[in-house]
Subunit: 336 residues, 2 copies
């Protein structure tokens, strides 16, 4: 990335990492080792490595949301750890499901430890996330766990839709955005409001923060979709054209298919066929020629604007609002 | 099975199935189809089939535990559905992890729908289980979710230990029982007390019921271990000698290895080697010769006695106690 990590995410990492290490200490050593490797903390043998990947985006949002509700960042810490755990549960399982072999420039956990242990480690992170919130005092703990559970349900729903879209054509932009809203938006909406829920904030504050997070998620997904086609492997840590080979119905693909004409027909045919380099390169060109690349970037900008507008729906302290805006800029200005 | 299903489990099925169908209605259609197939309700295309597998043991215990606390069985229904969902989450994932191709006399879900969708369906059941409890009124809903979360954590911990034991020798009986207590006992302990938790029962009642469930789980696991070596495939629905081929450190295996002498040494060598039929047959014979078969059956009886004794630690109505005793007999008298 060319742009610097927003200060709020730097602070989030400093607070969240020790709390997360303590939480992972509750797991079976084999599962803890897988989680620590996946998080970029250790090598496959459990030896510490120079701190790597992870943007601590979700924990940063959770901590800011506690502050937005007038609480201290520490009050949002169980929320911060819980959302990172759910995020990493889903990454561990997604990598197995998608057969992805690289993440954050390293072999994925399942390729190192086996699919079974990686699945189990994901399960453990999900169960742990819920436990951390349920250990918070009633009634806010229950309310927070309910929020996180609903977001987890939508995340799973979105992943199911994503898998089903791989097997069919004719996916509309609305379906694609609904899927992205579930798969990426729901957990970011939860992250951006969960600290406030735990702090007992009024519904208007929670809703405004969640609205920001949902739109941020849609912007994030659009940028991710651009990276999935045009991102350079040395920056993204994933093979180029990966999404096309997996026939994912991402925003640029759906927009290009919806553009109609002979280009769209040819693209549909290409995506239904094999996944050799030549076909992938031609598909990329057809998507570019359709104008879908620019249209996807415009989608990202539109959702970013809506994210910031959502914050105006409640009284968010100006300093927090500025930090949330900086995060939105950071997320959408990732280098291709 | 030769012995009839206890009446409490028949009643549990009648109450739980419709509630579970309603809960599954909240899932993505693709995931609902996988869950319904896995539960034996439908064929791979989603067409209803004659009601099959599933003992509704955990839901039966949950409903009885609500009654033990003086509530109606309906009050225990969210607990009954939640424990069945967690149980089936773990079966879906275990089958992927263990590479098992048959369950309840049918191809396992992952062989029909693919590993990815089966993993995701398991995730969905786990998230749904927590949601059902969290939707119950505070503070009992939070307490119940916390109980179920802790049991889920132990179940995952036990599965991790089980996987790690496959890769090493020298597993002691204590380690083996601790693993079984986590893997099988924890969720049964939770099931046998979760309805009481939801009904706001005092700690002494909850603890007595959980103690019964934990011991029932250890008895259950010992019988399962016997079935895993000597069970007839047409009864168990699993290939004969399956556990030995997977090098599982089950109670009879650990007891036979602990017996020492040349037989134990030969068995250790066999288990470390290949998994052809001849080796498996010889391993079975060595285990029998060591007396481990009878010793495992004695373990099952011992735990059953302790399960019933645990019920005396609190005031459980005599009728409920009799139903719990019938379930304990049913569980331990499964036909080999």
């Amino acid at each position: 990335m060319t742009n610097r990590l927003p200060a709020a995410l730097d602070r989030a990492r400093a607070l969240t990492v020790p709390a997360m290490e303590a939480a992972l200490g509750r797991l079976h050593p084999d599962l803890r080792r897988i989680a620590a490797y996946h998080l970029g903390w250790t090598d496959p043998d459990g030896r510490p490595v120079a701190a790597g990947g992870g943007k601590w985006l979700r924990s940063g949002l959770a901590l800011l949301s506690a502050e937005a509700a007038g609480a201290g960042p520490d009050d949002g810490l169980p929320a911060a750890v819980a959302v990172e755990l759910v995020h990493n549960f889903s990454l561990l399982h997604d990598d197995v499901m998608d057969g992805d072999t690289e993440r954050r420039h390293r072999p994925t956990a399942w390729t190192v430890f086996g699919a079974g242990p990686a699945i189990l480690a994901g399960d453990a992170l999900l169960a742990l996330a819920q436990a951390l919130l349920l250990e918070c005092p009633a009634p806010h703990g229950q309310r927070a766990a309910l929020h996180l559970g609903a977001a987890t349900g939508r995340l799973i729903e979105g992943q199911a839709a994503d898998l089903s879209f791989e097997r069919r054509g004719g996916v509309s932009l609305d379906e694609c955005l609904a899927m992205a809203g579930d798969k990426t938006g729901a957990l970011l909406a939860c992250a951006a409001s969960l600290g406030a829920v735990l702090a007992g904030a009024p519904a208007a504050t929670v809703d405004a923060l969640a609205g920001y997070g949902l739109r941020l998620g849609l912007a994030f997904q659009a940028v991710d979709d651009l990276l999935g086609v045009w991102g350079r492997p040395e920056v993204t840590g994933k093979p180029a054209g990966n999404d096309l080979r997996q026939r994912k119905k991402t925003v640029p693909v759906v927009l290009a298919l919806a553009a109609g004409g002979p280009g769209a027909a040819q693209l549909a045919e290409l995506l239904a066929g094999g996944d050799d380099e030549e076909r992938v390169a031609l598909a990329v060109k057809l998507i570019e020629d359709s104008g879908a690349r620019e249209a996807t970037a415009a989608e990202a900008d539109r959702h970013t604007e809506l994210a910031l507008a959502s914050l105006d729906q409640a009284r968010i302290p100006a300093g927090i609002r500025e930090e949330l805006a900086a995060i939105a800029r950071f997320v959408t200005e990732r280098e291709l």
